[in-house]
Assembly symmetry: C2
Homo-oligomer: 568 residues x 2
């Protein structure tokens, strides 16, 4: 196996592919070097002077190692792994550490397996974490449960790379036995544990780290970055669609540089298509004043070191031939992307086929609800006031308000004063659970909007001012196997997210075009322009973020950390 590399390295045989006269980033010692980069059988065999069977003149380009996304939920793109790859590989990303937290909440480890297998056909390495927090809380019904015992059973499965972000830091520092079991099982087999610990500091941070956690992508300020670095954490600079803290790059110094990596966490298809992926993060970092070579190191060698990816993230003999030739180290436009020694994209266009989709039966038809009727959305309360969730633009935090309500035929009257109904319909196990509440501030009227992306359990969340329309969108999503639906009281327009109710099996272009059409309809029907039309709703069901949320089991007061009645 090694002989062919060695013979090519010694020029006894021509290398398969040579990038001639390339400038390239030396991530090991810093700086930009020049030479021919020789590639054979998936590996870099030498840098120097080489002839190749195929030669590409790179004299006007700069070669960098393939970019690595240190932490991403692929599901947030609403695309299949194949189509996700088709968007990001031409941007220069050749590997991602993916935490399939969303699909696993729907399907359990079958969701992990699906992401893993679906990624096999595309030229992207997907290192898959086993999600650590499924379900996110005990106050909701998820499609699956991965307790400590399940993690113990699966953490060493061949396709599992590490333990996904340990969001339940409260459980960790309070020594919740089941949470600790997950960490212990991971450490026992030497798997890396990703972290998520917003604002944790001091003794509590020390305690959290004592579960063997290695990374954090939630830092918001200098002191937090510096404390976490000093305590041995890798700081993930996040360049997501909504949540971003790439600005933390301004705290990089030559001394701490090696401990910063780049991730996207959650990034929509439209951003991937229009702005880019890690390449866009590099552009922003350089624009922020970060040295370009440092930025590249943060997205390559540092990430490889953080995750112990052997012989990755650098341009050197025996390293994986994952290479990106960019126009320059300011714009980072990928002119050529090489994965495992093969040219897989040119000028932003993929050269691989992602049209054959892996679609096992168990990821389809995951919306298990009975047929619903208008009656199911009646909100019958005794008094004349009720709690309402106040949605806040640009934030996943909500407010809690007490509102006066009128009743008509034993049903709260909505539509006036911007009040809407909100319901979370359990859609995994046919429990019949429907949590109901009131929503203020979203701005929509004259129908209903429903979606099966509802963090983190991904039940069906429906808002509207028309009981029948609410039933109609529910029934429509039941038929499409999930997705997003908008009813104007007459017709229902739907974007099918047929893979687990989270991702489309269509092409990136088709999915985006349908998504755009549906968004436009939602805005036409009054959704405030300052809201993301649908994704702003998807977090109203997440009972770990203040203040008032809703699950399939009812309203949840995050401050009290308990389910509460809609009535006062």
């Amino acid at each position: 196996m090694l002989e062919k590399y060695i013979r090519a390295a010694r020029r006894l045989e021509k290398a398969e592919l040579v990038l001639k006269n390339a400038s390239f980033v030396d991530v090991f010692s810093g700086g930009v070097k020049r030479g021919d980069i020789a590639v054979t059988d998936g590996k870099i065999v030498g840098v120097g002077e080489y002839d190749g069977v195929q030669e590409i003149d790179c004299s006007s380009l700069t070669v960098i190692p393939g970019l690595i996304d240190a932490h991403v939920h692929i599901e947030s793109s609403c695309l299949s792994p194949e189509e996700f790859a088709r968007l990001i590989v031409p941007r220069g990303t050749t590997a991602v550490v993916a935490d399939p937290h969303e699909i696993t909440n729907v399907l359990g480890t079958a969701g992990c397996e699906y992401i893993s297998k679906a990624s096999e056909s595309v030229p992207l390495d997907v290192m898959l974490s086993l999600p650590s927090c499924v379900p996110a809380t005990p106050f909701e019904t998820s499609g699956a449960k991965l307790d400590g015992k399940a993690v113990e059973k699966h953490i060493n499965d061949g396709y599992i790379f590490g333990l996904g972000e340990l969001m339940n830091y409260v459980g960790v520092i309070n020594c919740d036995a089941d949470v600790l079991k997950k960490a212990e099982a991971s450490l026992a087999v030497g798997k890396i544990i990703d972290g998520h610990a917003p604002s944790l500091s001091g003794c509590d941070l020390n305690a959290y780290l004592c579960a063997g956690v290695r990374t954090d992508h939630e830092c918001t300020e200098r002191q937090e970055v510096e404390e976490k670095l000093s305590k041995g954490m890798y700081i993930q600079l996040r360049h997501g669609s909504t949540a971003r803290n790439l600005d933390n790059a301004k705290y990089i110094t030559p001394e701490n540089m090696r401990r910063f990596v780049v991730c996207t966490d959650d990034r929509h298809a439209s951003d991937l298509a229009q702005k880019g992926h890690i390449d866009d993060a590099l552009r922003q970092m350089v624009a922020l004043g970060v040295d370009a070579v440092t930025a590249v190191r943060c997205a390559t060698l540092n990430t490889a070191e953080c995750y112990n990816l052997k012989f990755r993230g650098g341009i050197a003999p025996f390293y994986a031939a994952d290479l990106v030739a960019v126009d320059n180290l300011k714009d980072f436009n990928a002119k050529l992307v090489i994965k495992d020694g093969k040219i897989v994209a040119e000028d932003g266009k993929p050269l691989f086929d992602s049209s054959e989709r892996y679609l096992p039966a168990n990821v389809l038809n995951t919306v298990h609800v009975r047929k619903l009727s208008a009656n199911d959305f009646v909100v019958d309360i005794d008094g004349d006031s009720a709690k309402a969730i106040k949605i806040i633009a640009g934030s996943v935090v909500t407010g809690a308000e007490t509102v006066k309500v009128e009743k008509v035929n034993g049903d709260v009257k909505v539509g006036g004063g911007g009040l809407l109904k909100i319901a979370v319909v359990e859609r995994h196990k046919m429990t019949g659970n429907i949590g109901k509440g009131l929503l203020k501030g979203y701005g929509f009227k004259g129908g209903a909007i429903g979606l099966t992306i509802a963090h983190d359990s991904h039940n069906m969340i429906i808002v509207g001012d028309d009981n029948q329309a609410m039933a109609d969108v529910a029934n429509s999503l039941r038929k499409t196997g999930g997705g997003i639906a908008v009813s104007d009281g007459k017709t229902v327009q739907t974007l099918a997210l047929d893979i687990a109710g989270l991702m489309s099996s269509k092409s990136a272009e088709d999915m985006q075009s349908e998504m755009r059409a549906l968004s436009e309809k939602a805005y036409e029907m009054g959704v405030g322009k300052n809201f993301e039309a649908f994704m702003s709703l998807a977090f109203l069901s997440l009972p770990v973020i203040p203040e008032l949320k809703i699950t399939d089991r009812g309203l949840f007061d995050v401050g009290k950390f308990e389910l509460v009645s809609i009535e006062n």
Copy 2:
């Protein structure tokens, strides 16, 4: 298992040990910080404000992580692993990556097992490499052979950490199938391969690296350091007794700093006792102008990263509580050494007992030769000239000279003109092999010197001008199970190296005192003061270093790379 760390980290329970008010080196982000370092059950649980069951005021000390020697042959100390630990642990070394190349040449994997088991009783982590070059060449008889198949069989044994320095770079770049099999077997199970590639550069270096080699400790100049760094190698700064290239530390920059580590390779007991170990390297580095924090990082975090030692090499929660409190970051005098949370040395004195020695039968009595007589050392040649090895002070390279010889009774006459006989007596397998030759320049007369340290096969090497004295030292070493012996033609004085003929089972002090006495005798008998009395002989049998060497099978011309006759 994690609960106790977490509870201590949160101060719900007192930490077992707290280093109060310590300055400490933050290897992650650089710089010196201050705080209490709390330790429980072998791990650091927190840095901040802590109370402990035991508290030590460190307000006048600076705490650094336990030092790691990235590459060492313990055998070169001539001490058992227990006594080796007793010298280095009080100096602040808490872990070594050890390549038991010497003892494995004598005993095969039983030698590795011995080093591993003997190290268990002392507070030093010994990460054991499986030697890759046993025997070093096919032109000598070693005690054992580890071919590709044997490496394949043993590389994943529980106590084996990686593959030892792949010295046979010529074999690698020429695609020797057996050599490549060793590398392939190691890579297949994810083991790290150490390197040794003096002056290799360009395509040949690329080819060597294509065997998956990760480190080098042989760099002699700037260009070599920079090329190897740029090609992804970790540069080991070597602070041995004879071979040193710690000066390469002057090529450290903030950009490449993370890729330098510190090692000793071969270091004698006297240096360990008088000058120190990695602590001495740090002193020298700082004296050379290297920033002290950088020096510490090179001997801690960098090494941990190089060898993927998880949660080691830093002062942070969940990291191994391997800590050294030094007086300051210039002198690095270890006032307190903590290993796995226990205080194991104070003020340079070990607090652990190393007197109970692990001594399995198979490491003793390893000198298998018949009783020799004066006749065995007769050198009978036809002509009147012969080849002589010219020993060169301070170098392992030799010269080759043609000398006129007189004969008496069919035996070359020596003693005049500084000419001595040199013989290598095979001592592993009773083959009866005795390679004989002539030696110039050593300066000894009136007897014989013999030793069973003779790189790399460790046969018995004997020099002298008196056949009977040569036989006497041989027979004496046969009785002691190896060691070093000096005969003045009347009596034989011996230092027993009873462990595999390489290491003493006595205390470091006793071994050194006997060694000193023996050296004095050798110098009295004329050994040039510019030579190390015995170790200068130990390399005359190493047939990979120019120019003329000798093995149990005869004279070896390194240039021609073949055995040659003593006659011209």
